[in-house]
């Protein structure tokens, strides 16, 4: 799950007492917005997107207002704003009103896990407020640190010294930035980014860091994120109904990762193993409905559930049901094939028979028993099929599945339907 923006960001930062700009949500009344303008002189109006959506400012999706009428107009403009970024379309659901924070300095700060250092790492610069990628390396400090001791003030202090940051920044940042480690590490985050943190003068003239934008990503495998009590639908925009339904089956035994490739695809691949997932999805391209990884020796009941869901969403439009994996090390082929076959029979019983070409490539424990069970089921359903041994190149089996799809597209589907007596 990813979160962007200060509406939820400010709530999360409060857990560790990190100062934030004052934020009102889409439910704010005119009086409340007026009050915000009076306190801060100006407000920013930002559209609220679910999930991780970047580059909003560059797309003009940012409003500013010094009076209520402008604020209301901007609200109307941005409330359902549409945004296309990184091949992903998003639509806003509401706006936030954020009090302006006048400042001399803007800080960029993030915590992530570095695969170079194999440790958590901060990225820090006092040239913030812009894309970090656009800065030259010498203006950015990337410092790994020990997760057992956590992010300490001296790590920040050293980073700022390395950057040659103005001295007045050092003390407030050393005091405040380490708090973010608690939020990052203890609540199951994999990325936490504040950009910008604006350094605002307080009444005594000292600088105080104020978070003015927020981005984070949570580790889907870490239950600590649940302790935040965030609404479950915060990031549902990035999951289809199909993905959500399969994800509800996630347990540690047996992968159940799926990703919708093409809603108009015609080959539905039940793929086993991360490697097979990468290879098959790449070779099938847009012909695939989904990319999947069901390896990890799922038990019968789970595999049956997964198959039921996959068939429910994708089978009707599919020409080819493609069951593919390498020579399994531990996944029981009999159990997984029996589950897929039984679910297919149940699907036909429930939704009626449909023309389908079945292509299988697999190896592993109880292989022949599994293929035998699948054979009997497909024979009883009247579906044409070919099953290949694991000593066939997987890519060749993928090519075969594509050829079967082409044939089905060019009249084969009708021929199969006729042979099944459903034309």
């Amino acid at each position: 799950m990813q979160i962007t923006g200060m509406y939820w960001g400010s709530k999360l930062l409060k857990y560790v007492d990190f100062p934030t700009s004052e934020v009102l949500g889409p439910e704010a009344t005119n009086d409340e917005i007026k009050g915000l303008i009076e306190r801060h002189g100006e407000v920013f109006i930002k559209p609220m997107f679910k999930g991780g959506v970047g580059k909003k400012g560059k797309a003009g999706l940012l409003g500013r207002a010094k009076d209520i009428s402008t604020a209301t107009k901007e609200k109307a403009r941005l409330y359902f704003a549409e945004h296309f970024h990184n091949n992903t379309y998003s639509k806003a659901e509401g706006v936030t009103f954020e009090g302006a924070v006048p400042a001399e300095y803007e800080i960029y700060f993030s915590i992530t896990d570095s695969t170079e250092y194999r440790a958590p790492m901060i990225t820090l610069t006092h040239h913030g407020g812009m894309d970090i990628e656009e800065l030259p390396p010498e203006k950015i400090a990337r410092i790994p640190f020990d997760p057992l001791t956590g992010l300490k003030g001296f790590v920040i202090s050293n980073a700022l010294r390395k950057l040659g940051a103005p001295k007045e920044l050092v003390s407030p940042l050393v005091q405040n930035l380490p708090k973010l480690w608690d939020l990052f590490h203890n609540y199951g985050m994999t990325t936490l980014e504040l950009n910008p943190i604006r350094m605002q003068s307080n009444k005594k003239g000292r600088l105080v860091p104020v978070a003015c934008d927020f981005k984070c990503a949570f580790d889907g495998d870490d239950p600590n994120a649940n302790r935040l009590g965030l609404p479950e639908d915060l990031d549902t925009s990035s999951y289809s109904d199909f993905e959500l339904e399969v994800n509800s089956l996630r347990t540690y035994q047996g992968q159940s990762d799926v990703f919708v490739i093409n809603e108009e695809g015609t080959i539905s691949a039940m793929t086993f193993g991360g490697g097979a997932n990468a290879l098959v999805t790449e070779l099938l391209g847009d012909a695939a409905t989904i990319s999947s990884d069901f390896g990890g020796n799922p038990p019968y009941a789970k595999m049956h559930d997964i198959s039921r869901i996959v068939y429910k969403y994708w089978l009707e439009q599919s020409n080819v049901l493609f069951i593919i994996g390498g020579k399994a090390n531990n996944t029981d082929i009999y159990e997984t094939f029996r589950a897929m076959a039984d679910a297919l029979r149940d699907h036909f019983n429930k939704y009626g028979p449909q023309p389908l070409y079945v292509v299988v490539g697999r190896g592993g424990p109880n292989l022949v028993r599994g293929m035998g069970y699948m054979q009997d089921t497909l024979d009883s359903l009247g579906l044409p099929y070919q099953m290949f041994g694991f000593d066939s190149a997987m890519s060749e089996v993928v090519n075969y599945a594509q050829a079967a799809d082409e044939w089905m597209k060019n009249g084969g589907r009708e021929i199969v339907a006729k042979s099944m007596g459903i034309a």
Binding site: G188, G274, A328, N329, D346, E396, V416
Partner: protein
Amino acid sequence: MHPQGVEAFPHYYVGINSLTDLATKDDRVCVLNITGGESRTVTPVSHVYSGGNIVCGTAPGRSGSKMKTSIGDIPVYDNIAEAVDAGHEFNVVVVYLPPSGVRDGVIEAIRVNPNLTKIVILTEKVPVRDARVIRAMGQMRGIDIFGANCLGLADAHNHVRIGGALGGSAPEESLLPGSVAIYSNSGNFTTTIAVYLATAGWGSTVSFSSGKDVYIHYAAPEWTHAFHADDRSKAAVMYIEPGGYYEHDLEFDKPVVACVVGRWKAKLTKACGHAGAIAGAGDNAMAKEEWFMNKFGVDDVFTPENPVCTEKGAVVLNIAHIPAAMTAVMEKRGAKPDFEPVGDLSLKCWFSNTQGIDLPDHLNPPVVEAMAPYNEQIAGLNEQVGVVFPRQSMKDASGASMMDPKTQVTKIHGTSVLDASTHNFEANLVQSLVREYPDANGEALANVALNTFVNQEGKVGLAAADAAREAGNSPNTALSAAVAMVGPKQVERSRNAASALVELFKKSGLEDPATDGFDFSAQLDAADTDTFLAESPCKCGFAMLAAIEARGAKSVFIEFLQALAAKRGSNLSCNVLAAAITTHLAWPALMRKRLSLTTIANMPWHFRIYSTLIGSAASAESQRKGNFCGVETKELMNSWSFTETAHLALLGKRPNDEELYAFSVLLGLIISNGPGTISAQGAKGAVAADGPEDPQRIQVNKGYIGFLTHTGYAHGGNGYEAIAFLLDRFRDSGLSDPGSEGHGLDLSSMATQYAKDYLAYKKKAKAEGNLAYAKIPCTGHPVFKGEDVNFDPREVFVGDLFKKRGDYNVFHEFYRELVQALYKTGVTRNVFCVNVDAVIAVLLLKMLWQPHAAGEIDDATMESAAFTTFLFGRMIGSAAEIDDHTNRGKNMDTRTAASKCSHVG
């Protein structure tokens, strides 16, 4: 903050200098969660392959047990400290713990064993937060950590495998000693690449599955260093996925084929498959291809058509191209493969059926003989008839029934009880064993077989049941006595005949046993007279044949038996004919390998018990020779459905259409509540105690006794509570026909008045401190609650079913009024649902109302009828559990371990 390991890595600890040290004969291993699902099958294979390198394992609560392997037992302890205290010395820990336990397991291992040098983590989905800590702990103590989500390490030269299932269940098949080291982000592809390399004559030194989490603890840089230091490894294959900068700075002194896969993953916005295979712009597949191309000095990827490579290496995007690329690179160095190629990677079709469609040639590859030993297995498969289920512990598990916790609807062999309730009793009885519903011909045959044996006149079982009733027992106890008499000897002939029919016809090509004109001449010659024929004529057998004819039913097996009797001049008995009918019903599913031979052999026994149980529910005085409850047995056999017969046994009359439908629905609804329900537990326990691993010894009738003894006044008899409640409400109402909408009663007022009375009663009881005040039966449900208005979907389903037929039930309507009234008067905080138990009660009461009102049956009889109806319906589900447990269960598998039992003082 870390001890100094290999000098080449000054900034972090690395202990392994050469791949020769990765998996050695000297490594001694402790496996955490050794008895877990995955380890249980993998660890013994690793142990045997490596010549016994696993010294111990841990599994909380299992201290003192052992994991058996063919070269000796592996002792199991509660935790590592106990294993160390017991004197075990090991330098490697393999982690099979669930994700939430991995970090603590690793910390414990490091804490108690100062001799640890390697930790291999197999577990998937370890949180990144824990990976951070694990990494830091390993660094602090100078331990190499592999994984997580890896498949471990294997050395084909040393014949050692540590951790997961590299090479699968037969590692020597794939891990052929040679000169190529394998590093793979994918566990499955580690083995697959080894198999592929062998097709070009390349064997392996070390196979290493790195895992592909965000943290890869032992990653490409340190592996590459160790590869260079290993003299056996002349070349390497690296299988790399997007995400992470692990390979960015690699420098190679030996040739490498890098397979970079995952260009499409650039489109991903979240991980799919490997958690760490999610990339930014700088570490996606395209970027990684370029890293490796620069290292090798090539400007394109290698394909068989465009074999671009240098003596430094090649980049491929398809693992099938790895063997050719390896050969091409090594040729440039003048190196030859390790051995003659083993197999090839061409398409090999093992199973095919075009279903008679004229496919183009390229879609119709010839079926080839599979490599050994798969060819023999396929040949064996073609010989096998029916399915052979793997045996496993079936405690609280079932392959027959399953309750959906969300909907609370139970499925029996994939059919929900709601759908089952739209089928008749006999169809559900067949489905419970055959897993499929019979067609009309099948139903006709089933009705003949079931009605033939329903009359219990003169049977000792009926006398026993009556005596039990006389002694004041509940219906289930009385019926147990009757069922006890249907022992194995009673059905021996039928069972033998069923098995013999399968043996005769299994290779005959018969698919549909209702086929006309099937040629069974070969079977006529081969059939054994003693198995199928009787010397003396059997009246019952004649009656069955007449009934089959009267119903216009047909079966190849019946025709075969008639032809056999005619040919040999002998007679047919009802026992053999019953076997022919049950075999007919099961045949299509048997041929499709949905059923086992055990089920086929036992089906006549189940059928006999069905008849006995229904027949014995009627008293001895209502049964005479040739007459059951006032109806000629012959008439039952010729024209009655078994649903009608059950109604007759219970209520003494043939139901009309409306009654028949309601009765079928009622029986269907109570088929099963899943394997956890007490009746199922009784049936399963009875089977487990006989030892299903030797299925011949299972006493099927005892399974039914188990089910019957596990019902009672609280389970099965409780439907009467709601009936009693309704009787109290309607006793003096003057209601004559509960099926007529014109009943003239103001249900709303009745419900409101009751709700007010109940509120007053409840307040008074509470004021007196009596919290055990009487609750209203069948309203509310622990799952279907919390909404303003709540519904039990099962109740809604049945309500709609009857509404569509135009069938009215005043008691059902009253219940619906009642839940509203209870809310309006403030008894409940929202509108409770009418639950499914109420449906059962209202259906039953509607059937029994008129005889009750006429004084023909008293309250006790009513209670007995309600209970017996439950038993009829639940018999269907119990049959399925008994057969399922017989086929899949292990001896005594329903017992609870002493450690999980508690003593209450």
